[in-house]
Symmetry: D2
């Protein structure tokens, strides 16, 4: 069996979740792991069998045996690490976005490095690989509902995040809504050309202090003439809520929120109970592994990447447009053409 | 039993449906019926027991025994008939809108006549009395989901309408979306202050010739800070589709589309079948009767009207704003203050 | 329009419900109504427009204009009235069973009178016309699930009945389970050849005093080799519960209990709510009208009867077998052959 | 962390599935593995990191470092291996049943060895740990539906098994229905005292040659007065079907079959699709791991065993009674008292 010789950069909460998933994929050999706070994680990671550890990710980039790196560090480091990895000739898996800089130039520079070095870069748009959403995607592509005309994405987090975390990951639009822009565009098979967004702090007014919002409702126009509606909330008290609906000339496809329960209770008060999954790690558990397996297939067999640098740029442009729209109170055009 | 002495004006398709519903309400005595094409309907209506027939609705207005009129004529006659009925001192039930004139002044004049003559006018916003939507309304009002933050309305017709019919009833925004504006506002308990709408002819491009659209996606802002999303289509091949979702600080309420079937078929191909109701007369069958019963209670016992003239003005303003927004490509403000 | 000239016998609770349904069927002209306690109902029935009233059903049987009678009297009168009506040459609609006598001879005598007088008799097995169950029936018949192998019927009443009412209508097996035997046999298209039943008073031990039970679980064998399972309860606190499932070589069909609500509430406690219909009059509202319409079609156009005398005998035999099985603790054979 | 020093006996299909689950439980250290056909599995198992392999399970029993054995061998070996393991002083996890001998004495002898050697034995009644069923169990226990009165278990395999496999694992009643007897008894918290069963070969008549059946419908009586209904089929073309319903004095709990899809497709033909899980390994994936974790808790912390030797004896008695009932055509009593 041909295997990928991998290095993992970033061993925090997200990194560890991904690490466990990577361990279940036999085609991936993890030769080295890195984290700036390696001492903090050393024992735990050693227990998993990864003893070749470093606090400096350059050690991984300089390791000639390694051909692929998985980047799970905080968003503010993506730009530097991915650029360095590309220049070191490594294939790269990285979470979105590629840069904290809302100016697109920073991301474009990263992608240029990827292109010039002829390496592969897959972006962690995990929702594309969610079995529910992927099933819809495939049915839409196969023409089951004819020409898609409207896509609706409902995406709600179970609770507010700490302000300092928000500042590190980029706020609702760049951390959260970007996924929705991407899934909407993925379903439609067409680029977003305009965004009109309404957003505010209906839950936590103190978010204004860090220039963030907690509630969002927006309409987008796609290049192919179709429309999209997205609504977001940071706090759905009943749990993580992720739904997609695509309406077309020959039908509709929708994925209701995923629950882990089929139990129904009927009482005098006609009560029944269902339990939505509480958090993204559970909701997208399978997706996280599937996206890695798809990356493996791309590296070993030339299968297409699940999500590319262009995809992240397109979602980022939509998020930037949404931000401008909220500020200006006007619809904002999005350039659907991408050229490096 | 105290009864309402009623006259019915308009005996076409809608009129006959309403007439059958009115017959099931013992508090309503129908003394006279009118239609400009009375000859066409005479036999059928006589069979139902209504032999006091006229082609001139003024006969009903001049009938001193009659205290209440039900107006089921085509939209372009509402303005005149309702004004005349008010001036004749009759209580009035009338379908929305009050005027084909998108200028609000015409509707306001009708309402002035209603006000000056101290009669009651109930608007046929039947969806408010739909058992599903009304149940959501009551739970929202009773605080079950805390402060409402986002309302979503999906409303799709099963098929395109003939162009000439569209021209008589006012196009998608004034015939169809007005109901959605009203139900969104009803759920929120707050007026719409801004509309941004995207609309086009994704299904039937010839609709452009009569200045209409078949697909619509829009975002509204409510006075209380909340947001709303509405999407419309004229042609859902799977049947009439009417759904409402209200999201709030303490939970979410949603009404899925109504089906007349609980039968599930499981085969090798994992197929199951459900049958959405095909058309509004079936979907809102109960609502049409309940709104009449509520009107009766308002007349006999002073219960509040289900929907008032102000309600129709507010929905109309939103529709006008949506029309302007589609044309201009800009969000359009809506005045939430109503004064006669 | 050809119409049926009808007389209605029995104006109690059931009779009035049926009367309202009959009023909606234009092909039925009700010429006369009868009830032994006619004074009690006279005003109410007059208000509905039925002024030709009598306390003696023989007046209806002697009315030469009447060709069809609807019998809604209490069970203990069926035997006499149906026999008299048949001998008077009237077509008959009657609720099951035909006789309180658990000895089949009494019912057979009634059917002989029906046969000898060449009149039509339809039994009120209304569940056959329930849209859900009828849809399953049609799909089973059309081969959608291949050869049916197992049928399951769950049938639960919302609450205990008064003891005196039970004594008049025949106890759980003859009042309630008979419907389930019939629907099971209807779905299977095969006669029951054996019953093994377990029954007891798990809810109200005082039912023993009147020789009745409140809970029942049984297995039947069909002539075609298939099996059936039926479970009954007199008290489902969450409401009336009526479900059918048919499993076959090529699939399964099932009808979940009918609710009047599609509203879902999601809160911190993950609560959702649905409201099963509370009582049979609501659950089988449509079925009650449809069975009458089908009877009309049989009389006017020779369509097959929804349920015949043989059907009621077969269900009765199963109920008798169940009763014997509970008493003896043994399975009891049922004769699948019926001959007058 | 205290760990269990384990040996695994049986590395066939079931054994490998369990082995993967055991690997995810950090408290379990697998020191040695055994299979009579060890050469066949050696490489695959070595790849997983288990290099201490043997073809003779006595090597594991003689290994003084090992305190617990997991027995995943074919049913016909259970009696010998579990007895040997008990005599060697090892704690034991074993799939049901304990003996192919339908005479209870064989199983009782095994349990005597377990008792005399003061070791723990957990039976693989995995369905008890299925999240859906366990949730029902807990709600029943906590009184949510009052006194349980009726339990219904529907259990259907997706396809016929090869005849030779059936002969090794014991036929429908002993391989399949035993799980249903156990789950019914588990839900009720009461022993079965009588079984009446109807069974036959409605799918594959050649099963008669090996004295097996493919379709089963039965009624049981519980010691506490409640009833149970179980129906089985070997071939549900739509996939594995596992449902439980418990009805009680204060409500009902039911677990619908588990699907891996929330996607709904609506088209002109009103088709929607759901995908039941195809096979038990997927349906009970979590249950298989949870039962092992529970066993660990029992060994390390004295938590109660999920399922004991008495549980398997009780289910076996029910299966034997069902077999006798089918043969004799009579209900068969089951002794609810168990004493070693």
């Amino acid at each position: 069996m041909e295997t990928i010789k991998a290095g993992v950069i970033g061993l925090g909460r997200a990194g560890q979740m991904h690490l466990h998933n990577l361990m279940t994929i036999p085609e991936i050999d993890i030769l080295q792991v890195a984290d700036v706070f390696i001492d903090k994680f050393s024992d735990k990671i050693s227990d998993l069998g990864f003893t070749n550890q470093t606090s400096d990710y350059h050690d991984i980039l300089n390791n000639p045996e390694i051909n692929t790196v998985f980047v799970f560090t905080s968003t503010d480091t993506h730009e530097q690490i991915v650029t360095d990895a590309a220049n070191a000739g490594k294939n790269i898996f990285c979470e979105k976005p590629l840069s904290m800089d809302t100016n697109e130039e920073a991301s474009a520079n990263v992608l240029k490095a990827v292109k010039e070095n002829h390496v592969k870069l897959q972006i962690g748009f995990n929702r594309r690989m969610d079995p529910q959403f992927h099933n819809i995607y495939e049915q839409v592509r196969s023409g089951k509902i004819g020409t898609p005309q409207v896509v609706k994405v409902t995406s709600r987090d179970p609770d507010l995040l700490p302000h300092d975390l928000i500042q590190r990951i980029g706020g609702l639009l760049f951390d959260f809504t970007m996924h929705d822009f991407d899934i909407a565009r993925y379903m439609m098979g067409s680029n977003i050309t305009e965004v009109y967004a309404k957003g505010g702090t209906l839950i936590d007014p103190t978010l204004k202090e860090i220039n963030d919002i907690d509630t969002l409702a927006l309409v987008v126009q796609f290049e192919n003439g179709a429309y999209g509606l997205i609504d977001n909330s940071r706090k759905a008290v009943y749990g993580y809520d992720q739904r997609v609906e695509v309406f077309g000339s020959a039908g509709m496809l929708k994925a209701e929120n995923v629950s882990n329960s089929t139990v129904e209770l009927y009482t005098k008060d006609n009560e029944t109970k269902k339990n939505p999954l509480p958090i993204f790690t559970q909701r997208y558990k399978e997706a996280y592994t599937i996206e890695m397996k798809a990356f493996v297939q791309s590296l070993l067999n030339g299968a297409p990447l699940v999500a590319t640098g262009e995809d992240v740029i397109m979602a980022q442009r939509a998020a930037i447009a949404a931000q401008k729209s909220i500020k200006s109170g006007k619809p904002v055009k999005v350039d659907p053409v991408f050229k490096l």
